[in-house]
């Protein structure tokens, strides 16, 4: 009888201690990202006696104490799926908004030093030259503003190039991250699989895996498949990156443009059509946003070079005695990267062909070049005929950049709020509450104390039996 009570009290001591261990573990991890609080599920031990032919005759079954039936994660897996969906969007818009913001910084408009203002100054310089074509000072102004304009084109284009290279590097980094996460998830799958065989809940491992899945979601869009043996599989565009205990990987291959394409390790392309995650975003920013701006700049510079040179060729250099126009190239190059002042013009101010005739006061060509500012030379994006002036075109592309950046920024902020709220929802069930843990601690502590008291009581009773019984007449 004493024996049974002692065993019962002992089971309680053990169970409450284990529960306190879990409480302690919860508190210790209250600030660990991705940690889910764990709960101890108590169950009464098998009562005694079990019905059988030889069961001792006694009034009824007596309980034999408590066991810890399971230690489980308190987690809302549905919220996890919702959360990951938004994290994919967050990753996409965060990266896109960042890239567009960088383009905006490069373009630096509206400002007194941007391309818009420089083009205006360039036209004005030609206006001044048209009034004073014989004057070397006004010629020098044309030369210097043209130089500044060409250098600004070079600078903007160079900055865009290096941004594009940064984004390309980010694509490569993303792929390395994905591969590393995939390997880690496979390893955890393996450990959880082994733990599950012996019917334990691999709570902490599952937390780790969920955290890795959240990290992966920020980079790439995937579908999670639960294999019902403790392992999960990750499906990306119809092919499995992680399949239970097997792992596949991505690789990057330089494409025709000199940038990285993402492929499966066997060389088939990765289907990234769903616009989610950082990887897609980096690729879109690299191949669309930056490329578009580069193309616009190139087409602007190219048309400027052609139009100015066409007129310049029809002009006469200062001091010319030639009967036919002898204007050299004004600009050389074909795009924003290569545009430069021709050496003829940069070496000799007289070689600016301002005149429509070879008389020194003729600024006819300079005036025509100045009037290019009002000429519809540029084909706006989405149009096929030239309907815009140089300045119109530039304004339009900068404004469109603004619209894109504004949208990306708004989406990013929305996603930030959304993921924060979803995370809160997740934490509502899974987060560690110190108050709650303290309450549990008191509960377990009291239960432990009470069980210990029972041991003491039984000890006292045993003391009576052992030391004070059988001493009649002593």
């Amino acid at each position: 009888m004493f024996n049974l009570s002692l065993e019962t009290a002992l089971s309680s001591l053990r169970a409450q201690q284990l529960a306190l261990d879990i409480t302690s573990h919860n508190i210790a991890n209250s600030n660990t990202p991705g940690y889910t609080r764990q709960r101890v599920n108590f169950a009464p031990n098998t009562p005694f006696p079990v019905p059988s032919l030889f069961a001792p005759m006694q009034p009824g079954q007596v309980g034999t104490g408590v066991v810890v039936a399971s230690i489980e994660r308190v987690r809302d897996t549905f919220m996890d799926i919702e959360y990951r969906k938004e994290v994919m969007n967050l990753g996409y818009w965060e990266t896109r908004s960042d890239a567009l913001d960088k383009i905006q910084l490069i373009i630096n408009e509206p400002s007194d030093t941007g391309l818009n203002q420089l083009m205006d100054k360039f036209w004005n310089a030609w206006q001044e030259l048209s009034k004073n074509p014989e004057n070397l000072a006004t010629r020098a102004v044309v030369q210097q503003t043209a130089q500044a304009l060409a250098e600004t084109f070079n600078h903007l284009r160079g900055q865009l190039d290096s941004l594009q290279n940064d984004l390309d590097f980010a694509v490569q980094t993303n792929v390395e991250e994905i591969n590393s996460i995939a390997r880690q998830i496979r390893d955890i799958n393996d450990q959880i699989y082994k733990t599950n065989i012996v019917k334990f809940n691999a709570n902490d491992l599952m937390d780790q895996r969920d955290e890795l899945l959240n990290k992966l979601a920020k980079i790439i869009d995937f579908t999670l498949i639960d294999n019902n043996d403790g392992t999960v599989s990750i499906d990306i565009g119809g092919k499995k990156l992680v399949d239970g205990l097997n792992v596949n990987s991505f690789k990057v291959v330089k494409n025709a443009n000199g940038f990285f394409d993402v492929q499966w390790s066997d060389g088939t392309p990765v289907n990234l059509t769903a616009q989610k995650g950082e990887l897609s975003s980096n690729i879109v920013a690299r191949d669309v946003d930056v490329q578009k701006m580069k193309d616009y700049m190139d087409s602007l510079a190219n048309t400027l070079i052609t139009e100015v040179n066409n007129l310049h060729h029809q002009g006469f250099v200062l001091g010319s005695t030639s009967p036919t126009p002898d204007g050299p190239d004004f600009f050389t190059g074909t795009d924003a990267k290569t545009i430069a002042l021709s050496s003829a013009v940069s070496n000799n101010l007289n070689n600016i062909a301002a005149g429509a005739t070879n008389s020194s006061g003729d600024g006819g060509i300079a005036l025509q070049i100045a009037q290019l500012k009002d000429k519809l030379t540029m084909v706006l994006p989405g149009s096929t005929t030239p309907t815009a002036t140089f300045n119109d075109f530039y304004r339009t592309i900068v404004s469109r950049l603004g619209v894109d950046a504004q949208e990306a920024d708004r989406m990013y902020q929305n996603e930030q709020l959304l993921t924060k709220n979803l995370n809160n929802k997740r934490m509502e069930s899974g987060g560690v509450s110190i108050d709650e843990e303290m309450t549990n601690m008191i509960l377990y502590q009291n239960a432990y104390n009470a069980a210990a008291r029972i041991v003491t009581a039984i000890d006292e009773m045993m003391d009576i039996v052992i030391n004070r019984m059988g001493v009649v007449g002593r």
């Binding site: 036209w123 048209s130 005739t357 005036l367 603004g402």
Partner: protein, 287 residues
């Protein structure tokens, strides 16, 4: 609903960050006075602001072109006025020479004075504006009248004073001055030859010359009027464009300060609330 310290912390951080971002925006607007600092702030306003900026820069250039043109025309008018005065004097002298039966010595001295006047006509023909000879067509850097022959050409000098509006600022000296000098040469010849009867027909040529000068002055006057009209219009236009640019681009300082104050209050409240809700847990009350 369970609330955990993690949630409180996340919410607090999110709100602090958001308010800080708002405050940063307001402070930036106040420190540079601009509501537009990058395209995404307001792409539509940006489009307008950039257009206004271009228009203003271009308008200021037209303004300079107009000023230069007007100065050129004024110089021309003064020169033509002087030419007209000189011709009047020649006319007086010629009439005097034709009507009186003067001895040859007197005719010679009249001829001498007209020769001097002819020199002065040459000086007028070589009038310069900002270092340029204004009557020589586009040959602005050599004297149109070198004393014996006309060196300039008959090409116009055009300034742009509006979108694709060109105006000729120079007056072609070649027909005007060569006719005048021819007439003067003839008068001098007739005077020195004592051919008084021929002087009356010279007077007719002189009148034609005077009429040409008057016509040229009238033309200069008309062009001056036109440029002044353009100038006034441009001034008014520039003023309204500058105002529009300021309205589009500049921050509303009063409104921004009030916004900033509001954001500061929100930030302070968020901080205060954070300070109160974060530390206490049940731990503080367990002894």
């Amino acid at each position: 609903m369970r609330i955990t310290p993690g949630m409180l912390r996340d919410n607090l951080l999110y709100n602090l960050n958001r308010t800080l971002a708002d405050m940063e925006k307001s402070q930036e607007m106040l420190s540079n006075g601009k509501a537009l600092t990058k395209p995404s702030d307001d792409p539509v306003k940006l489009l307008r602001a950039m257009k206004y900026r271009s228009d203003i820069t271009q308008g200021e250039q037209y303004q300079r072109n107009l000023d230069d043109g007007l100065n050129w025309l004024n110089t021309t008018d003064t020169a033509l006025g002087e030419l007209s005065d000189l011709l009047q004097r020649v006319k007086e002298l010629t009439v005097y020479g034709a009507n009186s039966s003067l001895p040859q010595e007197s005719l010679n001295s009249i001829a001498e004075e007209i020769r001097q006047i002819k020199e002065q006509v040459g000086v007028v023909a070589n009038t310069q504006f900002a270092g340029k000879y204004i009557f020589g067509g586009t040959e602005v850097d050599k004297q149109p009248w070198d004393g014996t022959a006309w060196q300039g050409n008959n090409s116009g000098v055009y300034f742009e004073i509006g979108n694709n509006i060109k105006v000729q600022v120079n007056t072609l000296g070649s027909p005007l001055f060569t006719d005048v000098i021819n007439t003067l040469d003839q008068i001098i010849n007739h005077l020195t030859a004592g051919n008084v009867s021929a002087l009356s027909s010279d007077l007719g040529s002189l009148d034609n010359n005077l009429n040409s000068v008057l016509a040229a002055r009238a033309d200069v006057g008309a062009r001056t009027n036109r440029l002044e009209l353009m100038q006034n219009r441009l001034l008014a236009q520039l003023e309204s464009e500058k105002e529009l640019l300021s309205k589009t681009e500049d921050a509303d300082i009063a409104a921004t300060i009030i916004d900033l104050k509001n954001q500061e209050n929100v930030y302070r409240s968020a901080l205060a609330v954070g300070a109160r809700i974060l530390p206490p847990t049940l731990v503080d009350f367990l002894r």
